[in-house]
């Protein structure tokens, strides 16, 4: 078994209520008992976590003091946006800003909420992320988390601007496993948008294992955007588990560009009639990066809709993995679901394993899914060149165009602009490293 076991001794805080201590004990036991998944597990066939075990990372140390200048490169959007900054899992009040929030909203570090008003989150924390596929990882997180963010909105409350949560891995402080734990609870018709950024301050081997649980009451809307751009030596594991009541709406976006090895699980259960989920993602991999997404949409009530589009661009020896599961329970009549995964390979050595998966137990449903893997089409490339656009520029343009439409699904324009910028930068550097000779394809 794995050396990652070492840091797992539960670390209850003296101020924590008993049920949290219990959650930590259970989590530790789960992790001990189940170990990290291996490629023999169906859900992990294409993603080998053994490099994480081998790295034998202890808990990340408390970093030295961070200053505004340290995080400035990772900020975007508007200065008024509420912001929570965590460095190696520890909340940084001096870099954070929690103004402009509606009355009755509780937005802040989870540890604070656990000390002040644990009753607010008792029904959610540790209650949603209980799926076996991720349980060892989620268990490890439960046993070891120090902090994370909490967003608790009463019925009808609206937070107009995105709440930016910046997770900085500061590898100047050696160690490196961080287990952020986050909770979002939206009352009836409440509206919130959270952007989670995962970034690295100094190169170094580090592990992030983040878990977010979100509970959406009737009519609530939650926009969740996760931006993963950790360093090329980082390991990144993430789980988002959402439960949606009647007529609620989840709009999720996962942007993955960093880390040597990453796995992001986006799970939602449509538990009340009329609930709607849209899951979007864009992953970029180059060098020897491995980027894995697993999504699961559980239709557990009638008249729910889900719509999913994930796109991947793989260069070098990059390896993309996508597994999208859609379960339609017997009671989930009139389900309308569509799932698409499209991948663009920029090199001969890049690869993708994609597996859309539909399991339907109701009879009156409309569900489709599809996946594609290919290189740039020859015809548009020639069309651009026939207008004078040089081949390299045309390739960049068409690659950008392949993915840009999915970014438009993020509701906040500044976030879209930011990610477009990141993608353009990525394409330019990928272009400079060279893509190998143009492939001559017949049309």
């Amino acid at each position: 078994m794995t050396a990652t076991r070492t840091p797992v001794a539960p670390s209850p805080r003296p101020t924590e209520p008993g049920w949290v201590a219990e959650l930590r004990r259970e989590g530790a036991a789960q992790f001990e008992g189940l170990r990290l998944p291996t490629t023999r597990d169906e859900d992990w066939r294409f993603t080998d976590l053994s490099p994480i075990s081998k790295a034998a990372l202890g808990p990340a140390r408390v970093p030295g003091a961070l200053h505004d200048a340290d995080i400035a490169p990772f900020l975007f959007g508007h200065a008024e946006w509420p912001r929570l900054v965590f460095a190696n899992g520890r909340y940084q009040p001096s870099l954070s800003k929690l103004t402009g929030l509606p009355a009755g909203a509780r937005v802040g570090p989870l540890a604070e909420l656990l000390a002040d008003a644990p009753g607010l989150i008792e029904g959610t924390l540790g209650k949603l992320a209980v799926q076996p596929a991720a349980s060892a990882i989620v268990g490890q997180n439960a046993s070891a988390f120090v902090d994370g963010y909490a967003v608790v909105l009463p019925a009808g409350a609206t937070v107009d601007t995105p709440i930016h949560v910046l997770f900085v891995a500061d590898s100047r402080a050696p160690g490196g496993a961080v287990h952020p734990r986050n909770v979002v609870i939206l009352g009836a018709n409440a509206v919130a948008s959270v952007v989670e950024s995962f970034v690295t301050l100094a190169e170094g081997v580090a592990l992030t294992n983040t878990v977010t649980e979100a509970s959406l009451a009737a009519g609530a809307r939650f926009d969740h955007c996760k931006i993963q751009r950790e360093s090329a030596q980082a390991f990144h594991l993430a789980t988002l588990e959402v439960r949606q009541e009647r007529d609620s709406y989840l709009n999720s976006f996962s942007f993955a560009q960093g880390a040597a090895l990453s796995r992001t699980n986006i799970y939602t259960t449509l538990a009340g009639p009329g609930a709607h989920a849209t899951l979007y993602g864009l992953y970029l991999a180059e060098g020897r990066q491995h980027v894995d997404h697993q999504t699961r949409i559980e239709h557990a009530a009638p008249d729910c809709t889900s719509w999913e589009v994930y796109k991947g661009i793989l260069d070098g020896h990059g390896h993309g993995v996508f597994n999208g599961k859609v379960y339609v329970q017997p009671e989930a009549q009139k389900t309308d679901g569509k799932q698409t995964n499209k991948n663009l390979l920029l090199s001969e050595t890049a690869k993708v394993d994609t597996k859309p998966q539909l399991e339907i137990f109701a009879d009156d449903v409309k569900c489709t899914h599809g996946a594609t893997v290919g290189s740039l089409d020859a015809l548009p490339l020639f069309y651009c060149r026939s207008r004078g656009i040089p081949e390299a520029e045309a390739r960049t343009l068409l690659t950008y165009a392949f993915a840009a439409d999915v970014l438009e699904e993020i509701r906040s324009r500044p976030v879209v602009d930011y990610l477009e910028g990141l993608m353009r930068e990525w394409l330019l550097t990928a272009g400079k490293r060279g893509r190998g000779p143009a492939r001559k394809e017949a049309s």
């Binding site: 020859a378 015809l379 548009p380 020639f382 069309y383 651009c384 060149r385 026939s386 207008r387 004078g388 656009i389 040089p390 081949e391 520029e393 045309a394 343009l397 068409l398 950008y400 165009a401 392949f402 993915a403 840009a404 439409d405 001559k440 394809e441 017949a442 049309s443």
Partner: protein
């Protein structure tokens, strides 16, 4: 301007062009007509540098340079423009961005500074008038979801922006109603200069009432089987192609 000698080309191993010889001088309009499948589009695509066609023999000299040695983008930068029979859709790239990229590529190649987006918009405004379009079209993705007529008109807009020296129009008239046909023809005519030339590939005499050719060539079986003045187009309209292709069949 353009000297094509004995040009032969294959696609997927099949010989399609079987020895084309054609000379086009500045200021001239040449019409190329002929039955379906005779190789008209192949000739047009070979001149633009489509990688699916392999030139197996002959030569093409454009403004004193070996055209066949030039990359497609270099040909375009040097003033060759092909209006595609089937314009290509590029979802995710706006018309405005595409046109500016093309325009600036040409300027860069000529050693000129790129035009910034604002100045380019001014230039576009002029060009849009030519095809009687409003600015809305610029924010739509290139040809994506365009009707057949809109696609053809968009080709003429691109041509207007790039101001080619050699314009090759491949069936730009097909699928156009009479009003759209007039807009396209007027666009092409207004873009003619003393130092530019136009090759019009068409099925029908109709377009040639508006863009009057100096020469008409009939392409059949990958060869030019007959050339003449503009009256040849009228004769073809009246008699069809059979009398020419039968001759060709007898020879082959």
């Amino acid at each position: 301007m353009l000297e094509i000698k004995n040009l032969t080309a294959t696609a997927g191993g099949t010989e399609i062009l079987r020895g084309i010889t054609l000379s086009v001088k500045a200021g001239e309009v040449h019409a190329i007509m002929g039955p379906n499948g005779s190789g008209k589009s192949t000739l047009a695509q070979v001149l633009a540098g489509h990688p699916a066609y392999e030139v197996t023999g002959g030569s093409v000299i454009y403004q004193g340079q070996d055209l066949l040695e030039m990359e497609p983008e270099v040909r375009a930068q040097a003033g060759v423009f092909l209006a595609f029979q089937y314009p290509v859709e590029i979802p995710g790239v706006t018309n405005a961005y595409f046109l500016r990229a093309a325009y600036n590529a040409k300027r860069t190649a000529a050693g000129l500074e790129e035009l910034d987006p604002m100045d380019f918009l001014d230039l576009l405004e002029e060009k849009l008038k030519l095809v009687e379009w409003g600015p809305e079209i610029m924010s739509r993705a290139v040809n994506a979801g365009f009707s057949g007529g809109e696609k053809k008109r968009n080709e003429i807009l691109q041509m207007a922006v790039l101001e080619p020296s050699l314009a090759i129009l491949d069936e730009t008239d097909s699928g156009l109603d009479i009003d759209a046909l007039k807009i396209v023809a007027e666009g092409v005519n207004s873009l003619r200069r003393a130092d530019s030339a136009t090759i019009v590939v068409t099925h029908y005499q109709r377009l040639l009432n508006h863009i009057v050719p100096d020469f008409v060539h009939v392409l059949a079986g990958g060869r030019i089987v007959k050339s003449g003045g503009k009256e040849l187009a009228l004769e073809l309209e009246a008699r069809g192609y059979e009398w020419l292709t039968e001759v060709e069949g007898a020879v082959a």
